[in-house]
Symmetry: C2
Subunit: 224 residues, 2 copies
DNA sequence: GTTTAATTGATTGTCGACAATTTAAGGTGG
DNA sequence: CCACCTTAAATTGTCGACAATCAATTAAAC
């Protein structure tokens, strides 16, 4: 069933939508380089749409914190800095910690069962030694908890505003690394706390989980 | 000197800026009613600008979570619901708690001194019995700590994304109420923790402070 | 030779008109 | 009388052209 869990089916209805999604993808995956300038006319010809469309797309990208715009000057893709990554993780720790707390409070039994099922399939892959996690599994897990919080603001901020940036860092700095089995155990404990409706513990464990991930990323940065 | 602390001097350089600021003000203050439809042509004549300007302004308002837009249908000012207010406070508790933690870590001695000075002027007003707080003082205090976190994402999310909504709730639901002296003491303790560079305590106290405020607002909602 | 001023070129901001879609009204058939 | 289809009005989406602003190059003055 829900194989590639694309949760909020962002169906592009308008041309500006399509262009926005395409541009976002190209930026996140580094097709459009970090720090590069976004010329409206240039992109207009490249994506075969009018400048108005490009402008709207760029405006939305600015809302996602993927580009920065200056009046009468133009827009640039954000630069990827170590400080920026740290700041991102601090926000994640805060918001996802609260998400876990609220998930422990608001997720239905069914949703918790599904979450356990997801974890089991992950465990099977870990046991059989398949190359696990790299992206998809981890993202799925976090998305479910975020959605489980049932807090619209929280969901919007994280999914629309933070996660694309996180992915941009991961992709462009080549962060796919290990940290697999330990992360799996951490996920298990978090789900356990949610099952027990232990809000306090769920938040604490999620914050720790993200802190560990942050430190893992920091050491990776130092190496390069 | 810094009387009406308008921190991030949002100077309107372009016409879209001006219209955005004006429209945001009108929405927050209820001149444009919550839940009402935003007709592009109508606003275009009302504010004497082209539709393109209005569209850009509405897009930005959507980024602030002040309006919701549906493709090919239009934009509406968000509806104010008790649940929405709760969700807002949950996010604030999370983000401002982290802000206090980071402020304890990153604020300069000078900034902490200024914060203490601000608190003293507030105390004078409390002592002399002047009508205090209603808005300005409280906002000033929170803004300083948010900015003191030195975390760009945190700052943007709170100041550009949350606080206008909070103010919209306060203005339109007539939340100016009491809760003055107790809030002042809470502020004092938070600043004390920041002075001591006690990150843990600063976060905890800020989260409590916001929780108290939330409960205060909830009881007010029940009354009406 | 260095700094300042002016001009040119290119980019962004703004506008009005046209196309596509939705909503409402009206009519037709069951 | 209700349901469905058709049609018309209004609203949003998209476009190309023009105006305003900024960056760079060149010219001028000290």
């Amino acid at each position: 069933m829900l194989a590639t869990m694309t949760f909020f089916d962002e169906t592009a209805v308008t041309a500006a939508d399509k262009t926005f999604f395409q541009l976002r993808k190209d930026i996140v995956e580094g097709v459009v380089l970090a720090g590069s300038k976004l010329s409206e006319t240039e992109l207009s010809t490249k994506y075969s749409v009018s400048r108005a469309i490009i402008r709207e797309a760029i405006n939305r990208l600015e809302s996602c914190n993927l580009v920065e715009r200056k009046a009468n000057v133009g827009a640039r893709v954000v630069a990827l800095t170590p400080e920026g990554l740290i700041e991102l993780y601090q926000v994640r720790e805060s918001l996802e910690g609260m998400a876990a707390r609220l998930a422990a409070k608001n997720m239905t039994s069914q949703e918790i069962d599904d979450l356990n099922a997801l974890l089991n399939t992950h465990f099977q892959k870990v046991k059989t030694g398949e190359s696990y996690y790299q992206e998809a599994g981890d993202v799925d897990f976090h998305y479910r908890i975020i959605l489980g919080s049932k807090n619209r603001h929280l969901i919007t901020m994280l999914i629309d505003g933070i996660y694309h940036l996180v992915r941009m860092y991961r992709v462009q700095l080549g962060m796919s690394g290990p940290r697999i089995t330990t992360a799996f155990d951490e996920h298990r404990h978090i789900v356990q706390a949610i099952s027990n409706r232990d809000e306090e513990l769920a938040e604490m464990l999620m914050r720790r989980h993200i802190m560990y991930s942050q430190r893992n990323v920091e050491t990776k940065l130092e190496q390069s």
